[in-house]
């Protein structure tokens, strides 16, 4: 310790002491006014590191919550679509059972046919259910409806008695620009000018083929102009997965594919309904009765798809709950790391203020006197 003290020393001491105290006061005032404990990484480098990690985790957590709520919306729409499909099929089944009764006459069957056709149109629109502008049963082809009801399709068919010909829809083009082969024709909608069904020709509505009989009206080498309505399944691949990331490393496919919900092409719900309609149209109670099995199979498919949707919903719901509580934990941790403890800071602030005032008072007392005042 120095033995001789000079005014210069006292002065330097007071200056560095005051400036040190004021710096600390300033730091804590900044902390209190910004509510932040870490004003720059130097204040707490480990805290800064953790804060940057937490901010990133919180960003992800919020995004995952957003993804989950989006997935929930998608799944609810899928569920309600499948649900309404199920009710529609039940109604069609009732109508089929009525029509299968031998006490039913052709008129009643025709009336049922009309109603089934209405129900079928409902099933098509349900199959084209849409969430936020995306067709939910189209796989990744979300801009393309999976099924279309083509009305007033036309086909030119060369008349040749005894041959079975497929109908090519001339009014419509597939994704390659070709005219598609029509299947799943709506019974009752097909007409050929000048010819009568059951007399001059027969139709397989499910397969979409026409067979001419040998009658005077069927002129060899003539061309028949065929008019019909049909249900067209898009020729694009609609089996793609729609995925949502709901957690780090956890990606859930949330879409039910058309094949899963409606059955594979050729044996899907529309073929089943059309088989029923064909029975009603041809006034064949046995055919209607046989078609009920197909309707039941389609309903089973719907129920199965609904189960799948339900199980995904359970997962997203559980994940969503987890995310919400993790989010809270993360935000709490971030606050602990980044935010100033106000009570502590306020008490420290008043303590620092007192220290600063005390040092000012002492300094004022020390620097005043010198021997000169007493001479």
């Amino acid at each position: 310790m120095a033995t001789r003290i000079t005014y210069g020393m006292t002065n330097d001491g007071i200056q560095s002491g005051l400036s040190g105290n004021f710096q600390k006061l300033d730091h804590i005032m900044n902390q209190v006014s910004s509510q932040k404990r870490i004003l720059a990484p130097v204040d707490d480098s480990v805290g800064t590191w953790e804060s940057l990690r937490l901010r990133s985790d919180i960003g992800s957590n919020q995004q995952y919550q957003r993804n989950v709520s989006d997935a929930d919306g998608w799944l609810s729409v899928s569920d309600s679509a499948l649900n309404s499909g199920n009710s529609l099929l039940l109604r069609i089944r009732d109508l089929a059972l009525q029509a299968a009764s031998d006490t039913y006459g052709p008129k009643e069957r025709d009336a049922n046919l009309l109603e089934v056709r209405q129900q079928l149109e409902q099933v098509v629109s349900m199959a084209n259910a849409n969430f936020n502008g995306s067709y939910i049963f189209s796989g990744t082809q979300t801009q393309i409806p999976p099924f279309t009801l083509q009305k007033n399709a036309t086909a030119s068919v060369a008349m040749a008695a005894g041959t079975t010909v497929p109908l090519i829809d001339q009014t419509c083009q597939d994704s390659k620009g070709n005219h598609p082969t029509a299947v799943d024709l709506l019974p009752g909608s097909l007409s050929i000018t000048g010819l009568t069904e059951g007399k001059d020709y027969d139709v397989d509505y499910v397969a979409g083929t026409l067979t001419f009989r040998s009658t005077p009206a069927v002129t060899a080498a003539g061309t028949a102009s065929v008019n019909f309505d049909w249900v067209r399944r898009t020729d694009l691949d609609i089996s793609g997965d729609i995925n949502r990331q709901v957690q780090t490393g956890q990606v859930l496919p949330i879409n039910v594919k058309a094949d899963q919900a409606f059955g594979k092409a050729g044996e899907d719900v529309f073929s089943a309904i059309i088989a029923t309609m064909q029975g009603m149209h041809l006034d064949d109670s046995g055919m209607v009765r046989n078609s009920v099995d197909g309707l039941d199979r389609s309903r089973d498919t719907f129920v199965h798809a609904q189960t799948v949707v339900g199980s995904i919903q359970n997962r997203t719901e559980a994940t969503g709950d987890g995310l919400a509580s993790t989010g809270l934990e993360l935000t709490k941790r971030q606050s602990t790391v980044e935010d100033v403890d106000l009570a502590q800071a306020a008490s420290e602030l008043s303590q620092r203020q007192q220290v600063y005032q005390a040092s000012l008072q002492v300094a004022a007392k020390i620097i005043q006197p010198s021997l000169l005042q007493f001479l």
Binding site: G8, S56, N132, T140, Q245, L372
Partner: protein
Amino acid sequence: MSGGLFESLSVGSRGLSASQTALSVTGQNITNANTEGYSRKRLEQSADWKRDGQFGQMGFGVEVDQISRVRDQLLDHTIVANQGDVGMHTQVDDAMGRMEALFTEPTEQGLGECLTSFWNAWQDLANHPGDVAARQSVVDKAQTAISRFHQLADGLQGLRGDEEVQLAAKVKDVNDLLSRISDDNQAVAAAESQPSGKANDSRDDRQLALSKLGKLLDIDYVEDAQGRVTVTSSGQMLVAPSKPLPLLMEHHSVALADGTSFTLSSLRVSGTNCAFVPKNGELAGILEARDRIIPGAQGKLDSLASSLVTSLNQLHRSGYDAQGTTGTNFFDATKTSAATIALLSEIAKNPLAVAAGSGGTSLSPSSPVSTAIPATGAALDLAQTVDPAYRDLLDGSVKIKTVGPPSVELTEGPGKDFVVDKANGRISFTNYIAFPAGTAVTVDFRYSATGFKGAGDGNNALAIAQLKDSLLANPDQHGTPTATIVNAYADMVGSIGANHSTARSKLGTSKSLSDFYGRQAQSVAGVNIDEEVTDLVKYQHSYQASAKYISTVSQMLESLMNL
């Protein structure tokens, strides 16, 4: 017999003159109490005497010996040596502080948040791949992150430029101090070549200059017999006994990643050819910041940018954009540093070019192929003769019909009309009796094609979004990445904070040491007004007493004259 009265008069007059000299030394001390580098002076005086035969030694008044400078030279050395640490750590602390300010972490404005928003924009795109707004948002967030990268890169380069400017200013200070020390050397030698000459003020000035130089550089100094000091630093002589050897700056141009160039200077002592590298002091601190700390941060930032560009581009190239195009980059692959990172111009112009879809194998219907049944033994090779994509045909999807009328459908299967080699897209006809070679047929089928899977395919965006949690950055010695981008960035900012904290605590230590030595030196050499005022009174009294003595002797002389 004592000396005569006239001799006594002379004793009194010597007393007067000694007191007067002492008073002016006190005055000098008082007026220089606040002068930097001033050390207090003391009048050294002794009793003069002569031999008296009768009573032994006889007083002959007071003798002024010299005006001496109160100073502890060992302490001076310690102070000069300690200044180097203060200077070095001041510069490093300053540079780290400015770097921290540049990164503005942890806040919402930092690069960390920009990157989080960027990854989230990819997630949103994965949720809504058909939505142009989601694509635009990915591009916008990327641009925000890019401009933040640019801002940081420019800021860091700017800091390096500042260090360079500061280096030039500090080198000028060093050279001024070197000349000042050399000038003081000559003054000290000249003054002290006189007998009993004391170059007090020149020495004070030289010591002050040495202490200032010590803050700029690591120096060592030795005084020779004539009182001149030689100053050396890192083994190089900077002040020779006869002249100063100033530092020279040599400029080199360094090319930067963005194509511009940057001037860096190295140091050399005039008269030598070797580079001069200071080991301590402000110059060393500036060079440390300019050549190690800032480039270190630049390197890490560049490596982050480069990891981001490379890994994201790789995934993006494998994806399909909204129009079904594949193989494009997202970032410009030629620009991989933080200063240059940029979007591919096509992406910036057209958000539809963002590859959200992962594509994949999907079944496509063929266009109906019109052909004729080939000769016996030859197969119809769809992949070779029609379209190379016609491979991997879907089982049971091949429909062959004769061009009618009547149009007859052929049956597939061994022993029937035709068999299909599905993998290679080849059809062999087996029933040449019913369908002879040359029969016109149309062939229709579905095949697996790799490609675009529709506007709703957000799987590539999802894969890119998951890069957030992939190890992409901080490659180890085998080049294997060891950290996610976020972690690498957090490490980088955290280590800036940790290094700054270390620099700050080192600065605190060296400052408090320097303050301690400074107080010690002040304690020895500083002026205390109270002491000086006491001295003032003391010498005033002795002056008055000497005057009284003279007047007494004078009265005695008068009495003698009146006898």
